[in-house]
């Protein structure tokens, strides 16, 4: 099996997120921390588990981004991926999911991948578009929100369970090659092993300039980023912790929710 896993380098979702001065994207500071998109960690882990079942398999991780994105490739290698591919996006501004998908699809085309895995979405932009777009561009089937997969012994087919609303599951048999977007909870992603991390530091990456790929994309106007215009009718409780406890008890008693 030849497996390609798409990983994204993102701002840690727990860090403080503020709009930049121009309103064009998120403000970065020296304290901003980045990580592998947590959703993609499940995709890497699933690829590694397939490799454990089919030891001849090769797992390649690909990312699109600036030089910083290599940290996420190193993490994938530290977890156990065999090769890292860095598609360098040197242009100012953020590439759309369409461009990212078209570059990855161009890279993957004719390279003989049996399986392409992505996380179900990225934690930063939350578009959930790149995976299904890559599959469409490569004309291969796509299983979305996969919560369980089993490759057939002849490695020609994968049986998947995809999660639907309310947590029910639809089951499909999908022929390879195909793309799966991986739902969280399918596995518990491992931590990178120290020996692999050390090796990953020295390992050379396959570096490709995105300029070699087609840069055309459908026309969409990006107006900017802002804080969410959701009005909160809620009351923020003030005071010490004990005062907040007392206020909450009063509120719940008045609403007859606590006796």
């Amino acid at each position: 099996m030849k497996i390609l896993v798409c990983v994204k380098h993102v701002m840690e979702s727990e860090s403080e997120i503020r709009v930049n001065d121009g309103g064009s994207w998120v403000a970065h500071s020296d304290s901003t921390r980045f990580e592998m998109n947590p959703f993609d960690a499940y995709a890497i882990e699933e690829a590694l588990r397939i490799k454990e079942r089919f030891p001849d398999s090769r797992v390649h991780a690909v990312t699109v981004g600036s030089d910083h994105a290599r940290n996420t490739l190193r993490r994938a290698l530290g977890m156990g991926a065999d090769e890292g591919v860095h598609i360098v996006d040197g242009v100012v501004g953020r590439p759309s999911p369409f461009l990212v998908a078209s570059w990855i699809a161009s890279y993957a085309k004719n390279r003989g991948y049996d399986l392409i895995l992505t996380g179900i979405m990225s934690s930063d932009e939350m578009n959930a578009q790149t995976g299904p777009m890559i599959a469409q561009m490569l004309s291969i089937p796509c299983g979305g929100a996969v919560i369980s997969e089993k490759i057939s012994p002849d490695q020609k087919m994968v049986s998947v369970e995809r999660e639907t609303e309310g947590g029910a599951r639809d089951m499909f048999d999908i022929t390879l090659p195909c793309l799966l977007t991986i739902q969280t909870g399918i596995n518990l992603p491992r931590y990178p092993a120290l020996s692999k991390v050390l090796r990953a530091k020295k390992k050379s990456l396959d570096v490709i300039d995105s300029g070699v790929f087609d840069g055309n994309e459908p026309d969409l106007i990006f107006k900017g980023v802002g804080s969410r215009n959701k009005k909160s009718d809620g009351v923020f409780l003030d005071g010490t912790r004990q005062e907040k406890v007392d206020q909450l008890i009063d509120i719940l008693e008045k609403k007859a929710l606590l006796q």
Partner: protein, 358 residues
């Protein structure tokens, strides 16, 4: 919000050009989906209709609903009557559940043959799968998970959440057609006056697909859980820090009669509690009298599952947590410390009241 063009998006909409916008709505007919259940038309169609009318913006928009599936004649007629718009009944013999490969093949054909300016679909687990693929197939752009639409500078703008709901990004249509998916529950459904029924056009497409075969379904882990019956639900999220601390949810729930404990998706993913406790779009959709969210940031998939609760209390250390946008009472505290003190205080008061009566 500053208007700033993305560097790679070069064209600008020409102002003052008024023309009929052609708007398509995709309506899935299948079992157990958010769009329909047991042949009933669920509000998501009317949420999509709300979106479509906002896009039309009082102009003479042409709205067409595409109903896709097997045995859809009756449903299509009903929708054309209830919604008052034209319906394309896209019959696909044998398509009883969502199949991505079949959908993508048919949708691509449908919308290559018929050009629409906007194609609207739900950001459901199926919409998330076919909408981006459809946009690629027809050369459209794609904006997913939209939760607000408004007019600004003569453009229709679409806002969608990012970073777990802490920020939003806004887009409007360029020269290319636009595929839009909406967050279920984000739009107030509109139920038009059905004075005139729309026309129903029938067509049949081949649903044969070798590469992706449906083999069955499995019930959700939350099926039959106590979450549906409880008056009070106390849920824990990542902010409880450790699976060991989940016992605090149980301690707090015990204060209330007819209570149950729940969880956000991440702590189920971590294996701290079983998926039978999951609250949200991919777990239990709940409507208790009181919901207490402890250490839950409030991703939209969780919010969608709790928004019908009678009263919501949220406890989180992050004052910017999106859960505070929906909560009635917001408490910026460490959930575990707060629950400990809350339970202790309630118990002390109850003991005090008990001794007063003697």
């Amino acid at each position: 919000m500053t208007s700033l063009k993305k560097k790679r998006c070069s064209s600008e909409k020409k102002a003052g050009r008024i023309m009929t916008k052609k708007i398509a709505i995709i309506v899935e007919h299948g079992h157990g989906k958010v769009e329909h259940g047991q042949g009933k038309v669920k509000p998501i169609i009317y949420e999509l209709l709300s979106l479509a009318q906002k896009i039309a913006d009082g102009q003479d928009g042409q709205i067409v609903l595409f109903v896709i599936g097997d045995h859809i004649d009756r449903l299509s007629k009903q929708i054309s009557r209830d919604a008052g718009y034209d319906v394309c009944a896209v019959g696909v013999p044998g398509l009883l559940t969502y199949n991505g490969s079949v959908y993508k093949k048919i949708l691509a054909k449908l919308f290559v043959e018929r050009r629409f300016d906007y194609i609207c679909a739900p950001h459901s687990t199926s919409g998330m799968d076919y909408a981006p693929a459809l946009s690629v197939a027809i050369g459209a752009s794609c904006v997913t998970g939209v939760e607000d639409v408004f007019a600004a500078d003569g453009n229709i703008c679409f806002s969608r959440p990012m970073f777990g709901g802490k920020l939003s990004a806004t887009f409007s249509k360029g020269a290319s057609p636009l595929v839009v998916t909406i967050q279920p529950g984000a739009f107030k459904p509109v139920f038009p006056d059905n004075s005139t029924a729309g026309r129903v056009t029938k067509m049949v497409y081949d649903g044969h697909e070798d590469r992706m075969t449906f083999t069955g379904t499995k019930a959700s882990p939350v099926a039959g859980s106590e979450l549906g019956q409880a008056d009070v639900i106390v849920s824990g999220g990542r902010g409880i820090r450790d699976g060991e601390n989940y016992k605090y949810m149980e301690m707090l729930a015990e204060i209330f009669p007819r209570s149950a404990t729940g969880a956000s998706r991440p702590i189920c993913d971590y294996g701290w509690v079983t998926y039978s406790k999951q609250v949200g779009m991919t777990g239990a959709m709940i409507s208790p009298k009181l919901y207490i969210a402890c250490g839950i940031s409030g991703a939209s998939q969780h919010i969608e599952g709790i928004k019908d609760s009678g009263f919501i209390v949220a406890i989180n250390t992050d004052p910017d947590a999106p859960v505070f946008q929906i909560a009635d009472v917001c408490i910026v505290e460490d959930a575990i410390e707060f629950i400990g003190l809350f339970v202790e205080t309630v118990k002390t008061r109850r003991l005090g009241e008990g001794s007063d009566e003697k």
